[in-house]
């Protein structure tokens, strides 16, 4: 890999010869979408687990209430 860093300065890197807005917007949007794609199932999983735990506790308490009759 004989590649060098292609830009002379950070400013040049950000400007990308005038194409900066398009490039950074593209990468930015993609990053956001990919992060959202990963986050969504994780958040939903937490909600599903909480719901299952709530359900289990509800049936468990009603069961113990019955048994103490």
């Amino acid at each position: 890999m004989a590649d060098r860093f292609q830009f002379d300065s950070l400013a040049a890197f950000l400007a990308m010869d005038g194409h900066g807005a398009f490039i950074w917007l593209s990468y930015g949007i993609t990053l956001l979408v990919l992060a959202w794609l990963v986050a969504t199932p994780l958040i939903r999983a937490r909600r599903v687990r909480a719901e299952i735990r709530r359900q289990h506790r509800a049936t468990a308490t009603s069961a113990t209430e019955e048994s103490t009759d």
Binding site: F13, H19, F22, I23, S26, T30, V33, P41, I52
Partner: protein, 252 residues
Amino acid sequence: MANPRSFEWFHRLGSPQGFYRMTTPWLPWLAAAALGLLAVGTVWGLGFAPQDAKQGNSFRIIYIHVPAAFLALAGYYVMAVAGAVGLVWKMKLSYMVMKAAAPLGAALTLVSLVTGALWGKPTWGTYWVWDARITSMLVLFFLYLGVIALHHAYSNGEAASKAAAVLALVGTANIPIIYKSVDWWYTLHQPATIKLTEAPSMHPDMFQPLVVMIGGFYCLYALVLILATRVEVLHRERRTRWVRDLVMGGAD
């Protein structure tokens, strides 16, 4: 003996519980691979790959546009095959994979369309062109939306899966027809021989980071698909004992 054991492995993978248990150790590796490949590919493509002679720096968008487009199309076939497997072998897990693949593929198609537009403006002067590839991508997006909408429209989850599977399969037949039709129609109306959205012929220095990014996107796709399927498994099997034990036990 390898044969019965590998058959058993597939069998276990095919049940919701088996799938959940077996994929748990895969997740950290997939995440690491996806993150690593994407990070390396991005830095390499943005900073170290040489500029294109004609397009300048805007071609760097190719490092996200092409992988997204690949996966958008491949993802549709993943979804359709999962639907077909569900219909033929009545596998619940297959339907769950199909349901997870739909929004994932739609999001990647949208990324491909948006990055394509942002690439087109500085390079060829226009955000949108009705050529074969872009138009086919747009139609692919509509096909995904149809499958998602159909899933949501049915109140019965099982019926929803079957209906969505039928639609996904019908769409599969349509994709090549659409592509050929639009291609024919576009070349009819644009006799100019300049193929506007053809990728520049690539120097290996430009091509290598693309390969890395494609690999990274594939790993990310697999990761998200598995994560989403696992949630669907938890949700659909929430009344079973194994899910209760799993969640209450605090394991995983």
